[in-house]
């Protein structure tokens, strides 16, 4: 009896760790180690897998950030475009997402059908949506050129994407379109948690729709909106697929529409400078560092309440 009890107690103390071992091993091997070694590689001279890693200190960082030729130029371009891309994409998604969330929060028959309509693009692979947009941007037979010319906005068809000097604007449109349905779902779940009585009380007091939005919806949604914005900045700053597929048209690459993750990927995996790619990624991460720390503190709170 006594033995059994002891066994049970030991079991109870060791069991959670035993249950966690597989996940911990996986995280150490396939997330913590690649992350730390990635930072480590940024201080070496490594170019491709067969190279011996030689410590070079901050040489890669200096190469990237000084001068105005080669990779330093692309880094500066990518930096400016990362900010442009993230700010415009997240702002666009927030405006569109908020409008759709407010709309779907209204009660009307058949609402679930429209909710399904915004779920369809969420379920689709990004790669395929990106290809479809590339087809719509097609310089010869694409729909967008056709209608812009027909409406007289353009005099002649233009090549929107995939050129070395292509602008990032067409890609921003795609990203806003790709991301706003999910943004609106997140905001909608926040809207639905606002107590209905607040609105009814305001109605009795004679508050207009705009007043109710400003004085009830926005303050009640503050946390949801902040979290949504932070998460979307983190996601879209690091976004890869749309820029890669719509922006490159296959293999050729236009730095004109590259953000930092793309500059890093090309430096590492196309030009075989793994160490420089790692250094660009580290800088890219540090630029987001403030946000990451802020978000980590918020999540630490959530974990403590667990």
């Amino acid at each position: 009896m006594r033995v059994a009890l002891n066994y049970n107690r030991l079991n109870k103390r060791a069991l959670p760790y035993l249950l966690l071992i597989p996940v911990i091993v996986f995280l150490l091997m396939f997330s913590l180690y690649p992350f730390l070694s990635g930072i480590g590689y940024s201080f070496t001279s490594i170019g491709w897998i067969a190279d011996k890693a030689k410590w070079v200190g901050l040489a890669n960082y200096r190469l990237i950030t000084t001068g105005n030729v080669g990779i330093a130029r692309f880094f500066k371009l990518g930096f400016v475009q990362s900010i442009e891309w993230t700010v415009l994409v997240v702002t666009g998604q927030l405006i569109a997402g908020m409008a759709v969330a407010l709309l779907l929060n209204e009660k009307f028959p058949g609402r679930f059908l429209f909710r399904t309509a915004i779920l369809v693009p969420i379920a689709m692979p990004t790669v395929i949506l990106a290809l479809t947009w590339q087809w719509m941007y097609d310089p010869f037979y694409g729909l967008i050129n056709f209608y812009l010319v027909k409406a007289g906005i353009l005099q002649h068809p233009i090549i929107w994407v995939g050129q070395p000097n292509s602008s990032i604007w067409p890609l921003i449109v795609v990203a806003i379109w790709r991301g706003f349905p999910f943004m609106s779902l997140m905001l909608l779940s926040g809207l639905q948690s606002i107590p209905q009585e607040l609105y009814e009380a305001a109605k009795v007091d004679g508050a207009s729709m705009l007043d109710r939005f400003r004085h009830i919806t926005l303050p009640q949604m503050r946390t949801t909106i902040t979290i949504t914005i932070i998460l979307h900045i983190l996601w879209w700053w690091n976004h890869f697929d749309i820029i890669m597929i719509v922006g490159t048209g296959g293999t050729q690459f236009g730095y004109g529409s590259a953000t930092l993750p793309l500059v890093a990927w090309f430096e590492a995996f196309r030009w075989n400078h793994l160490a420089r790619g790692a250094a660009i990624s580290v800088i890219s991460m540090l630029l987001l560092g403030g946000l990451i720390i802020w978000n980590a503190r918020r999540e630490l709170k959530a974990v403590n309440e667990m």
Binding site: L19, L32, I39, V127, I128
Partner: protein, 302 residues
Amino acid sequence: MATLVRPQSKPQIERPVRSWLSVRRYLRRGARLVILYLLAALVAIICLFPIMWMVKTSFETAQSMRSSQVQFWPLEPTLKNYLSVLSNPNAAIGRSTLNSIIVASFSTLLNIAITTTAGYALSRFEFKGKVVFGMYLLLVYMIPRTLMLIGMFMMLAALHLLNNWMGLILTYAAGGIPLSVWWLKGYFDSIPVEIEEEAMVDGCGRLGALWRVIMPLALPGVITVGIFQFVEGWNEFMMALTIIQSPKLQVLPVQIVNFMGFQRVEWGPVMAFSVIVAIPAIILFAIAQRGIVSGLMSGFTK
């Protein structure tokens, strides 16, 4: 007297006012519905238009695609694009579909196998290091994927797992860990502890209770998480592009981009290929839609 008359006459005076009000209210309600439907239809068109365009193109002949007039409906609907994708050796659709199924299924199974026990442990036990573990799970999300990818690429090279499904399976399974663990922990939290305590009194061990009593209850949740991870694996592009080089081993998302490189101006077959790749993802998502949406929302907005 007066007190007797007033209550009688009051409804008589108010009735016409009230009905006039109700007509106005009725009209206002109608106008509100019309505006709501118009706006909702606009949103639906914006969301669905590119997808409908993709489907339309996949049924269109190359000639009508190149005509000077853009059509919203294929004038001569044809299955030629689908047939050409299915038979084109450059598309290699059969082989890459098989590759995708293998990679997505095995990574999902691996992910679920290791995260179910972890989610259960987080839900039921208090132990040292729980906070650190939980925090790491959340921080993983914020590490840029390109940085992780470089470290991962070197490690997989050292393990001889580059250009190998195993490399992809392991990375996908690991990448899905944080979301799966949090999600499953939520499912276990919703199952009352009393149920397994009863089972343990009846003579089950803790693991026996987990396997025989809790798992059947949590199964719908586990399946939802599994479907989500499968779709993620099915859709993933960047890792596959970097890790798999041999065309024979390539998975669908990269294969379709490569195929577009071959085709260049032939969008019909590329769009047909896209439809074929999208259908399984949409069906699976639709099956688990309710669980996925509520799970993601509670996970991200906590």
